[in-house]
Amino acid sequence: MSSTAPVSELSNEQMNQWFDQRFAEKMAEREASHIPSMTIIATKGTLDMAYPPFILASTAAALGWDVSIFFTFYGLNLLKQNLDLKVSPLGNPAMPMKLPEGPTWIKGKEIPMPNSIMTLLPGFENMATGMMKKTMDQKGIARIDQLRDLCVEAEVKLIACQMTVDLFDYGKEDFIPEIEEWVGAASFLPRAATADVNLFI
């Protein structure tokens, strides 16, 4: 008997066996050639909240993933040519901060940021921002503009929300030229629908 019997002569059991094997092979092939993708919606424009989207995007790109970030509302600040991001102590109850300078006993002390009186002091936001920037620098943490450059270099797609620009009367010349497109939700959602990971930050 020939080993390649015509399909009509195969028993049901043989057919099932053949299909299961072929199916497993094809699925494994598909998995091996699959490039993971991630879409992030960045909605916050403070210094601390600028980190998660850029860290995750640059790292995912380094892993070979296909990454897009949709910047909307205050998140659009992260695409400005002049990044002047601040930390807001307001509504940030879990934010610990240590003095970046001074004698060891003082440096080790945690200063709770969101004291309602401190928050109202003029210049407090600048001080908190300065402290966080200094601490980050000492710990070897990348600056936001560095991380953003790395994202651009790694071909992370930077997508800006057109509606936000109109809403806040921003000029497009205030933003970095690497922005891939200015679109609305309807253009971003189809991309998100096929992504493996979707994050709202």
Binding site: A62, L63, G64, G140, I141
Partner: protein, 76 residues
Amino acid sequence: MTENIHTLDTRGLSCPLPILKTKKAISALASGEVLEIKATDPGSVKDLDSFCQQTGNEMIASESVEDGFFFRIRKV
């Protein structure tokens, strides 16, 4: 076999910089070449492992040394 050894010093840098710099350095290598990495970020031990798994590069050595961590990765 003589291997072409390249080095990368990420000491003092925090997540995700060691990974990003590793990725950049590896991109410049030819297949089969080896990159030696020094790091102080404790997270880099697991992160570089994961990086290798995702990218298919081969982690040849991952050790704790006196001034941090030492890795050798061979490019696929």
